[in-house]
C-alpha cells in the first residue's frame, strides 16, 4: 500500500471555477471574484480561496479512496497562488498506513510552483 | 602700438577631414612653416600665443619645434572669438618689449577628433560661471553652436524681414570663392542657392549649408616689429589696429538677455576700436575676412562694422556686395564655409596673402584688410595693411 501513487487530477481553473467555489464556501472576499480589484491589489488575476483548496484536496483523496473512506485530517501548507487561467494538478502518494488509518501526501501544482502541499489522513472504511 | 608690429610669416598644414596626425604635430608643423616663411629659426622665437580650446600647451609646442626660452606666453579666452586676439596679444608683447618674436597658432583635429558642433553634456558639469551660464540653456537641449546662432538668426529674420535665402547667398558666395582656391576643402565645388535651400535642417532657420565645415589642420603666424619684419624674407603685413571686444550682458553664444538680439554688440565694440585706433573707415577696406562659422552672422557683422546700415546686409549681399568684384569682397579664400574651419586663423593668413599679393583669388590694390574673429562670443579683430 505504502508508495502507491494516486491518479493525477488536473483541474482547469476557469474564472467560473474560482468564483463558484468561493461562493460555495461563502467567501465573498473580492480578490476571489473581482478581476479588476485583484489586479489593482497586485495580483495577476482572481485566485482560489483557501477553503476551496481544502475542499479540492479532500475531493482528490476521496475520489481515489471511495465513498466509504472517512477523512480524519487535512494539513495544508500553502504556497503560490492558484490564479484563474492556470491549471491545478494534484498528485498523491500513500506514505504511511495501518489497517485503520492511511496517510497520503498530496501536491497541488500550478504553473508558478506548488500551490498546496498537503498531508491527508483517513480511515479507509468506517468500522 | 599702431603700425609698430607686423605679421612676418604665415604657415599652415593641409586642411582635411582626417589629418592622421596628433594635434601637437600639426601645431609644430604649422609653427615651423610660418618660421620658414618668415625666414626665422625657432631660436628667434621668445613668445607663443594660442587660444582656449587648443589642446597644445605653449611649452609643448616650444619643445617640439626647438624653440628655447620663452619670455612671453598667453592663451586668449573665448575660443574662435580669440583668433585675432592672439595677434593683438602678440603685438602688445612686441610693442612693449616683452618679447621680440611671437608665434600665434591654432592646431586641432576638429573633424576627426573633438567636434565642436556635437552636443556635449559636460558643458554644465561644474558650477563655474560658464557652467552656470550654460545651465540656463543646455537642459532644454539648446547645446550646439548651430542652435545657439539660430536663435539670433530667427530674431534677425523677424526684425529685418530677412529670409533663409539671404543667409544662403552668403554660403553660395563663400563656396564660389573656395572653388578657385586650391587650398580650400571645397576647391572646385561651388553650390547654388537652390542646393542651399534643399540642404537639410540643422537648427531652423539654419540649413546644413549655413554651417561651416569641420576641419583638421593648423595655422601659425609670426608677429614681430614692423622694423624687423622689413629685413625678413616677406614683405610685412602691418598690424594697423587690433582689438578685443565684449559687450554688456555678454554670454558665450547665448546673449539672449540683452535689449536687442538682432545685432552683435561685441563686434560693434571691436569695430569702433579698430576705426578709432586706425583712423580708417569702412571705405578704406579693400577686402574683409569675416568670421563665417554660420552665415547669419556675416550679415550682422557687415552692419556692426559699418559696411552697411542696420538691416541692409541682405540687400548688400543680394547686390553682389561680398563677391570678388563687389563693393567689399568678403573672404576671397572661401572662408570657413569654403576653405577650412581653423577657428579663424586661416582667415588671418588669407589677409596676409592679400596684402602680399600672393592669394589664390588675389584682389588688386589691396592696402587695408579687416579681419574678424568668432561671433556670438567675446571677439576680436584686426586691420592689416601693406607697409
Amino acid at each position: 500500500m505504502i508508495g502507491t501513487a494516486l491518479p493525477e487530477l488536473s483541474i482547469e481553473l476557469t474564472p467560473t471555477v474560482v468564483i463558484s467555489t468561493a461562493l460555495a464556501t461563502r467567501d465573498f472576499t473580492p480578490v476571489h471574484h473581482d478581476t479588476a480589484l485583484a489586479r489593482a491589489q497586485g495580483s495577476k488575476d482572481i485566485f482560489l480561496n483557501i477553503l476551496t483548496t481544502m475542499g479540492l484536496v479532500e475531493r482528490y483523496v476521496t475520489d481515489w479512496a471511495g465513498p466509504r473512506a472517512v477523512i480524519r485530517s487535512i494539513d495544508v501548507k500553502l504556497g503560490v497562488p492558484a490564479y484563474a487561467g492556470d491549471r491545478l494538478t494534484f498528485t498523491g502518494t500513500v506514505v504511511a498506513g495501518a489497517d485503520d488509518r492511511l496517510t497520503v501526501e498530496v501536491r497541488g501544482r500550478v504553473s508558478l510552483g506548488d500551490h498546496a502541499t498537503a498531508t491527508v489522513t483517513f480511515t479507509p472504511e468506517e468500522s | 602700438m599702431r603700425a609698430s608690429t607686423a605679421i612676418a610669416g604665415i604657415g599652415a598644414t593641409e586642411f582635411s577631414k582626417e589629418s592622421g596626425r596628433t594635434e601637437l604635430r600639426l601645431a609644430a608643423e604649422a609653427v615651423l612653416a610660418a618660421l620658414d616663411d618668415a625666414g626665422l629659426s625657432p631660436g628667434d622665437v621668445d613668445g607663443l600665443v594660442t587660444y582656449t580650446q587648443d589642446a597644445n600647451q605653449e611649452i609643448a609646442v616650444a619643445r617640439e619645434t626647438g624653440i628655447g626660452d620663452l619670455t612671453f606666453f598667453s592663451r586668449v579666452e573665448y575660443g574662435g572669438g580669440a583668433a585675432c586676439g592672439t595677434v593683438a596679444h602678440a603685438a602688445m608683447a612686441v610693442a612693449t618689449g616683452m618679447a621680440e618674436t611671437v608665434v600665434c597658432y591654432r592646431a586641432f583635429n576638429e573633424r576627426s577628433g573633438r567636434r565642436f558642433g556635437q552636443p556635449n553634456a559636460g558643458l554644465t558639469g561644474q558650477p563655474t560661471s560658464q557652467g552656470l551660464e550654460m545651465s540656463w540653456h543646455v537642459p532644454y537641449g539648446l547645446m550646439t553652436p548651430a542652435a545657439w546662432v539660430a536663435m539670433f538668426a530667427r530674431r534677425y529674420m523677424h526684425v529685418h524681414d530677412a529670409t533663409s535665402e539671404d543667409f544662403g547667398r552668403v554660403a553660395v558666395a563663400m563656396r564660389r570663392h573656395a572653388a578657385t582656391n586650391p587650398a580650400a576643402w571645397f576647391h572646385g565645388r561651388p553650390i547654388t542657392l537652390a542646393e542651399h535651400q534643399e540642404s537639410r535642417w540643422i537648427a531652423e532657420p539654419l540649413h546644413l549649408l549655413d554651417c561651416c565645415q569641420e576641419s583638421d589642420g593648423a595655422v601659425a603666424l609670426v608677429v614681430t616689429s614692423t622694423e624687423r619684419a622689413r629685413d625678413l624674407r616677406r614683405s610685412p603685413a602691418v598690424i594697423t589696429a587690433a582689438a578685443q571686444g565684449a559687450g554688456a550682458g555678454q554670454m558665450m553664444m547665448t546673449s539672449y538677455y540683452r535689449d536687442d538680439m538682432s545685432g552683435l554688440p561685441e563686434m560693434s565694440v571691436v569695430g569702433r576700436r579698430l576705426w578709432e585706433t586706425s583712423g580708417l573707415s569702412p571705405a578704406d577696406i579693400r577686402t574683409a575676412i569675416l568670421y563665417d562659422h554660420f552665415t547669419p552672422f556675416v550679415l550682422t557683422q557687415l552692419e556692426e562694422l559699418g559696411f552697411c546700415g542696420r538691416g541692409e546686409a541682405p540687400g548688400f549681399v543680394r547686390d553682389g556686395g561680398i563677391e570678388l568684384d563687389g563693393r567689399l569682397p568678403v573672404n576671397p579664400h572661401g572662408g570657413q564655409l569654403g576653405e577650412a574651419y581653423i577657428h579663424g586663423m586661416n582667415g588671418i593668413a588669407e589677409a596676409v596673402r592679400q596684402i602680399r599679393g600672393t592669394a589664390a583669388n588675389q584682389l588688386q590694390n589691396v592696402t587695408n584688410v579687416l579681419v574678424t574673429a568668432g561671433t556670438g562670443v567675446p571677439t576680436s579683430g584686426l586691420i592689416l595693411s601693406s607697409d
Binding site: 483541474i11 471555477v17 463558484s20 467555489t21 461562493l23 460555495a24 464556501t25 461563502r26 483557501i50 477553503l51 476551496t52 483548496t53 475542499g55 479540492l56 484536496v57 479532500e58 475531493r59 476521496t62 475520489d63 472517512v70 477523512i71 480524519r72 485530517s73 487535512i74 495544508v76 501548507k77 500553502l78 | 552636443p119 553634456a121 554644465t124 558639469g125 558650477p127 552656470l132 551660464e133 545651465s135 540656463w136 540653456h137 543646455v138 537642459p139 532644454y140 537641449g141 539648446l142 547645446m143 550646439t144 542652435a147 539660430a150 536663435m151 530667427r154 530674431r155 523677424h158 537639410r200 535642417w201 540643422i202 537648427a203 531652423e204 532657420p205 547665448t254 539672449y256 538677455y257 538680439m261
Partner: protein, 297 residues
C-alpha cells in the same frame, strides 16, 4: 506599535484563551452541501446519502461578514496592520475532524490565539507569523472539527519606485541659482529680485548690478510669456531629447527673458510673438524644467 508591544498584545490575547463566537447562521443543510459538492466537482455520494457534511466544509458553516464575530485574533491583526505589517498571506491550514457534521446540526466556532512569532525575514518582506486555533462545536457542545490556521503578516517591500533613466542634461546649480530649480520642482517660476532695490534679473547671479546689493530675494512670475525667438533643433541628436524639438527665448511681462522649450504646439504653428504660459516637465526624479505651451491650450 513596537515589535515588543505587538508581542505583549499577543501575550494578552493568548491568555484570554478560547472565545466563543456566534453560532452558524444556518444549521448544516442539504442545499449548501449540494452547492459545495457541485462547485468542487466532488461526486462522492456518501454525504447526501448519509446526511453528513463534507468535513472540509467545517469552516463554511460559520463564515461571517467582517466584524460580526470578534475573536482574540482581530485585535492583534489590527495592531499588525497599524504597525505597517499590512500584507497578509496564509501559510498553513491544518484541520482535524472528530466526526462529520450532521444535517440539522448547528455549529458554533470558538477561537483562541496560540502564538505570534517574529519579526522574521521572508521572501515577501519582514513579518510576523500569527497562529490561532478554531474549534467547531456541534450539538451537545462536543467538538466536531478543529483548525490550526497560520498567517504571515508582512511589511510589503516599498514598491520599486518607477526608475526613470537619469536625464543627461542636468544644470549645474550653486547657491546663486538653487532657488530657481527648487522653484521649478514646486511649479513656481522664480525670478531673482534684488531685496534692496527690487531689480528683477534673469539669469540670476550673486550681485545686483544696479545697486551692488548681495541681498537677494525672488518673485514668482505670473507664468505668462511671449515668444521672442526660437529654434527648431533637428541635428545632431541631443542626449535625452527626441528631435525635432523647439527651444525659445520667452519674454515675460515682468520684464526679463528666459529660455525654455515650447511644447504642446505643432512646430509649424510656433511663431514669434505667440502668447505662452509656463508649464512644467519632470525630466527625471530630480529635475523639473519650466517649459512653455500656447496660452490657449
Amino acid at each position: 506599535m513596537t515589535d515588543e508591544e505587538l508581542h505583549e498584545l499577543a501575550g494578552k490575547q493568548v491568555a484570554l484563551g478560547e472565545m466563543r463566537g456566534a453560532p452558524a447562521p444556518d444549521p448544516v443543510n442539504v442545499p449548501m452541501i449540494r452547492h459545495w459538492l457541485t462547485a468542487m466537482g466532488d461526486t462522492n455520494p456518501a454525504y447526501l446519502d448519509q446526511g453528513l457534511a463534507p468535513p472540509a466544509m467545517a469552516q463554511v458553516w460559520t463564515m461571517q461578514g467582517a466584524g460580526q464575530n470578534r475573536s482574540p485574533v482581530d485585535d492583534l491583526l489590527a495592531a499588525l496592520n497599524g504597525s505597517g505589517y499590512t500584507g497578509v498571506v496564509a501559510t498553513n491550514c491544518e484541520q482535524t475532524y472528530h466526526r462529520y457534521a450532521r444535517v440539522g446540526e448547528l455549529l458554533t466556532p470558538a477561537t483562541r490565539l496560540t502564538g505570534l512569532a517574529g519579526p522574521k525575514r521572508t521572501a515577501l518582506g519582514v513579518g510576523f507569523f500569527a497562529t490561532w486555533n478554531v474549534t467547531w462545536y456541534g450539538d451537545g457542545d462536543e467538538p466536531v472539527a478543529e483548525m490550526m490556521f497560520r498567517v504571515l503578516k508582512f511589511r510589503p517591500r516599498e514598491p520599486e519606485p518607477e526608475r526613470r533613466p537619469p536625464y543627461p542634461l542636468q544644470p549645474a546649480v550653486n547657491q546663486d541659482t538653487a532657488f530657481f530649480w527648487e522653484g521649478a520642482k514646486q511649479e513656481e517660476l522664480r525670478i531673482q529680485c534684488c531685496a534692496d532695490c527690487g531689480e528683477l534679473r534673469h539669469p540670476p547671479g550673486p550681485m545686483c548690478s544696479r545697486c551692488r546689493s548681495a541681498n537677494r530675494s525672488h518673485t514668482v512670475a505670473s507664468g505668462a510669456g511671449t515668444l521672442y525667438s526660437y529654434v527648431v533643433h533637428h541635428h545632431p541628436p541631443v542626449p535625452g531629447r527626441a528631435t525635432p524639438f523647439v527651444v525659445g527665448v520667452v519674454e515675460l511681462p515682468e520684464g526679463v527673458r528666459i529660455v525654455g522649450n515650447v511644447v504642446d504646439c505643432p512646430i509649424g504653428e510656433v511663431e514669434i510673438g505667440m502668447r505662452l504660459k509656463v508649464t512644467y516637465r519632470a525630466m527625471d526624479d530630480r529635475l523639473v524644467l519650466p517649459v512653455w505651451a500656447p496660452e490657449e491650450s
